[in-house]
Amino acid sequence: MSRQSVAKAHQKIQELAWEPMYHQPVSQYGTDYTFRKAQKKDPLKQVLRSYFPMQEEKDHRVYGASDGAIRGNMFRQVQERWLEWQKLFLSIIPLPEISAARAMPLLFRNVPNPELHNGQAIQMIDEVRHSTIQQNLKRLYMNNYIDPAGFNSSLRNFQNDYCGTIGRQFAEGFITGDAITAASIYLTIVAETAFTNTLFVAMPAEAAANGDYLLPTVFHSVQSDESRHISNGYATLLMALADEGNHQLLERDLRYAWWNNHRVVDAAIGTFIEYGTKDRRKDRESYAEMWRRWIYDDYYRSYLVPLEKYGLVIPHDLIEEAWNQIWHKGYVHEVAQFFATGWLANYWRIDPMTDKDFEWFEYKYPGWYDRYGKWWEQYNRLSTPNGHHPIVAEDVDYQYPHRCWTCMVPCLVREDMVMAEVDGQWRTYCHEACRWTDVEAFRPTFQGRNTPNMGQLIGAREWETLYHGWNWADVVQDMGFVRDDGKTMVAQPHLNLDDPKKLWTLDHLRRMPNLQSPNVLLNQMTDEERAKFHADYIRGGPAGRPYRGE
């Protein structure tokens, strides 16, 4: 089809829309935003007659590359350190993708512009593509990588493990609550436009550096669909901005979405990229460097800031604070350290850091060794069973953290922890912005304005609560993270598969002290104890060091 006719074709399909005369389509999702009917054009003209063949062509390339990887014995060169983290990443990501598909109908009745609905329907099916193509990649890893454990139980793991839960809010944030908050601001404006850049641009490069060239193929093919989604978000945002009554809600939602994405995505992707790689060339960009370039310079300064003159209130303070967390407060390092502390509750193996890794971290993040080096040396020392417990139950100068009720990542930057009694329960938050999200944003009124359509934070948001008082062996068995001999754990704090004696089993865990829920304990304290606990907690850190008095 000639290019000229694309515009004509796109124009013609606009004739398909009609105003109902007899019955209004069902309206199932509410929003507190208001939209005026506007003829905002669908900025990216996509007609299915060219869309389907284009996607099929991409598929040919992806599946051809998969065949090639198998034929070329790619897995003889793949770094296990890297692929183990894919057990986490690929357990999470298909749900956010499919949830994005599910989110599209939230916009139909709320954004009165039929021309945009076409773009949303195409985004819907793009997301179905992404979800299943990623499941397929995981299946391929399971079939061809040395250790299928964790891949083979992927979706069960994802759904009952606390890391999965952290990732899952990313998905559920798209599909529930105020329709515009969820499907437009959180999903397309922030998650897709800002954060998928690091996801889908940085991850493939790192995968390739670690001998995995399948992930780059799949994720580049996924990313080439993002342009449509970015356009969808932009068009809706401009429509929302046109009504001044929305500006307050936009401000609220940008704050929430920005901060939550930072907490969740930077935790996960930052860890994969910094701690999941064997590539320690000094000129390799660190996650902080990439973040600065893509998220700060590009998304913040060239996408958001120009919208300021249209009345968009940009959370400048939180954007600076996110950078502060990544650069000065070691957010990614704190998260990686926590994942490694809790390795036994997970479903992948975490490789200890070596001198070469130490050198790189110190070069990229001056002061890293003083903060984290000692702890990682301990991790290495405790990685194979030798009469001791897993690191979480050993004295390595690390205080097991409290969970953030909102983002569900623990309160790792100790000094920022905030505590509040909310809905009859004492909760901890990793940062004031997360407290604000729970206490002020996700409520039926906001700054005196009724927001009856705003969503709620629900669920058993502290994972440890479920296992309060349990023996660790029972915890791991309950979650199902056990290999087919019935006792060897899926997770291991090292990569050595040669010697069965080096693999941790449930038996090693039986001897450990029982698991305690920090939140249950917090709620059992007297007010005085709690105040003291808080005062001490925020004097702890970095690297989880407990406060030991003056």
């Binding site: 900025p43 991409k58 080439s224 993002e226 970015i230 893509w294």
Partner: protein
Amino acid sequence: MGDKHRVRFEPVGIEIEVDEEQTVLRSASEQGLMLMHGCKEGQCAACKSFVLDGDDIELDRYSTFALPDYEKEEGFTLLCRAHVYEDVTIELLNFDEEMIRSGLPIQEAVAEVVSIDHVTHDLRHLVLRLIEPAEIMFFPGQYMDIKVPGTDETRSFSMANTSSKEDGRLEFVIKVYPDGLFSSFLDTTLGVGDRLDLTGPFGVFTLRDAPDKDLIFVGGGAGLAPILSLLRSMAERGIERKAVFYYGARTAKDLCFVAEIEALREKLPDFQFVPALSEPAEGGDWAGEVGFITDVLKRYEVDLKGAHAYLCGPPPMVEAAMPLLAQLGTPEKHIYYDKFTTTGGED
């Protein structure tokens, strides 16, 4: 720095200069153009565009999922990866017309007077040359605020030319009023070589992209300037939409630029020029239309449902034209005018 080349963006008609060493996207963003983009790494395809003219373009490394070979051969390109080595014209596929224009930086500038010509008894053709900066990007149809020296007052005037690329040139058509602040200054004080302070560009009186819509221009007096700019720009860009310019004046001596407008028909095959006089001189040799320009328009047009209309001129003319156009079917949102130009002359 490498050599620079012109990049013209269609259908918005914006032109920028791009250094060979910079990508088109980067260069556009430095010059205040809001182009749609995503990853800037050649992977997401949000900036995919079509090369209408020119082919000496090199791309930095990109994903073939974002730009497969067959699309590249057809002429598609990724602006975030593209370096140009000759002048090119690029069609944007993914843009928001309002937003892209909003990106033009509003600048303070100093310019000096090149010439002041009397084109009618009360219209002056003022030509300026920018000193600092040497160039200001604006869209045909936009205006600048010019400061009246020695006061804090500014007056708004539309450019009659299409770009300041050549020599920093800005052209205006200004009506002088007997006691107007700027008028008296223009006629009595201002001379070639004098400097003026300007701010801009402003305004939304710009040509909207709608290839299948006919165009109606209605103008008179100093309102000629932005319409002239739009017409000149159409001629430069080869926009062959069906267009009629209804140019109203009181007498033959109130008309100007008529020869140039007539000549535009050579470049714009579907362009019709209808000048009309409301008070032709008795016994004069005026062979054209007679009457208020709105009455003339009413005689000529029956159905303007599919048209876009651009109005600029004295307030009574604009006020009369709006309901008439609406009555003839022009959708209200497609009647374009700049508010300042309808506030009339000077206080």
